[in-house]
Amino acid sequence: MGLIENAERPNFILTTIDTLLRWGRSHSLWWCNAGSACCSLEFAAMGGARYDMDRIGSGLVRASPRQSDVLLIPGPITKKMAPIFVRVYNQMPDPKWVIAMGSCAISGGAFRESYSMTRGADTVLPVDVYVPGCPVRPEALFYGLLKLRARVRGTSNIGLAHREPIYVPPDLPPEWEAEVREFLGEHEAC
């Protein structure tokens, strides 16, 4: 949807469409659960009867990243898995958001000193919302989702140029280079 994002200056029609789009996007944030560790179970509890994220339209956890809007990182990212996370993020269509859930995804948490772990999801991905906790209570994640929703609702898309079609982590370690570059050749935004 380049029409809104590439617009130079807003006019009445564009702002109306933009308001509608912001409403629609904020009320239907579908998940892509990366499921890297135990916080994923709390996420599953949030879909259950007591918290029920489907109430605000986020109940669909799509198995394919192509159909999801929010990438949830519920746990530590190992260095081996990190290129795969970047790849999954790149496979999601714009607009997309990332939620880092739990201490491990925020800073490495208990695995911070380990040789095989990245120190937080933000070393790999552009994280939007950080939800602290170990594990995060389902309500706390719900609060994070509501915050993300408020941000999606409140941020105008006009003049907001497209993000780069391929996200490459700023300090790309040499051993990922091949993996991410291979992906560049395979994938093309239409």
Partner: protein
């Protein structure tokens, strides 16, 4: 053909499109609501009154998503796939009557037309699955083709029993033959088999092999993003509408609700009851394994449907007016 008939038909077709869109919106909301209540959770709540605006929000979002076509995908068929899946279901709607003779084309062999259109749908699913250049969606497509073909056979044999009893392939005649006693009462085995095969034809759970999230990533539409995914979902909901409409017309008496006077209201009511029942099945049962599913069709449903046909034949020749 004169201009007046042409205009009427055109308006009717546009009306069908409206019905289709309305049905998808209603069913999307109703399915999430019903499955939620089966899980003892309220489902969509805060988007409009009890989440009634939820499908609109989803639609707006899907329309505004980036439209990704994988680089190695077959572009033509990637675009064509959802259309090939949607259009036959939509064309089948053209002959399905809402009231006596009130269809876009109340043709003499409407029964066969609907089945012919349902036979094209596997092509759409196969195209969807194959064109994305993804191994999971290809497996899903092959499963879909195998499933739809093997479940068509018992479905058609059961429909032959109806044809035998009603003596006409015109859907209006079939419904009018059940003005007092439905075929559901006369051919209960037929109804059971037809219901199972219809659910399998719609690719609904427990037969949702093409979209088996636990085995194939998202099945046939793994590579579909944005509104093309919305189209695939639309095809599924339309197939559900056509399938349950056929169940209502062939077995549940269509617009007849004896002893009350016939009315299209009964038909719509039954239609949505059947669709709710299918959603109830989805909330209850687990997905079948591929081999058990194929076994069920070839080992049990086809012999049972042949036995049903034989029984109906004997009864129809023995008793007048069966």
């Amino acid at each position: 053909m004169n201009a007046r008939i042409f205009l009427t038909q055109l308006l009717g077709a546009l009306g069908l499109i409206v019905i289709l869109g309305f049905n998808v919106i209603i069913m999307d909301w109703w399915e999430r609501k019903l499955v939620g209540h089966i899980h003892r959770r309220p489902g969509p709540m805060h988007t409009g009154w009890h989440g009634i605006l939820q499908p609109f929000a989803d639609m707006l979002k899907m329309l505004s998503k980036e439209d990704i076509v994988p680089d190695r995908a077959d572009r033509l068929f990637f675009w064509l796939g959802p259309a090939v899946a949607v259009v036959p279901a939509f064309m089948a709607l053209a002959v399905l009557p809402l009231a006596p003779g009130f269809a876009l084309a109340d043709i003499g062999n409407g029964l066969f037309f609907v089945f012919a259109m349902q036979t094209i749908m596997p092509f759409g699913y196969t195209l969807i699955g194959w064109s994305g250049h993804n191994k999971w969606s290809l497996v899903g497509a092959l499963r879909s083709a195998a499933q739809l073909i093997s479940y068509e056979i018992p479905m058609l044999i059961v429909a032959l029993g109806i044809l035998l009893a009603a003596g006409s392939a015109r859907l209006t005649d079939i419904v009018n033959a059940q003005s007092t006693v439905w075929y559901a009462v006369k051919q209960p085995i037929g109804l059971l088999i037809f219901f199972i095969t219809a659910v399998a034809e719609m690719n609904r759970s427990p037969f949702d092999m093409p979209e088996a999230e636990s085995e194939l990533v998202a099945g046939i539409h793994t590579e579909y993003a944005g509104m093309k995914f919305g189209l695939v979902m639309m095809a599924e909901y339309t197939a559900m509408l056509v399938g349950s409409w056929m169940i209502v017309l062939l077995f549940l008496g269509g617009w007849h609700l004896w002893p009350l006077p016939p009315s299209p209201v009964w038909l719509v009511l039954k239609l949505y009851l059947v669709q709710s029942g299918i959603i109830w099945l989805r909330g209850t049962y687990l997905r079948l394994r591929v081999d058990t599913m194929m076994e069920m069709s070839w080992k049990y449903l086809i012999p049972a449907s042949l036995a049903n046909l034989m029984l109906v034949g004997v009864l129809a020749t023995t008793f007048k007016g069966f």
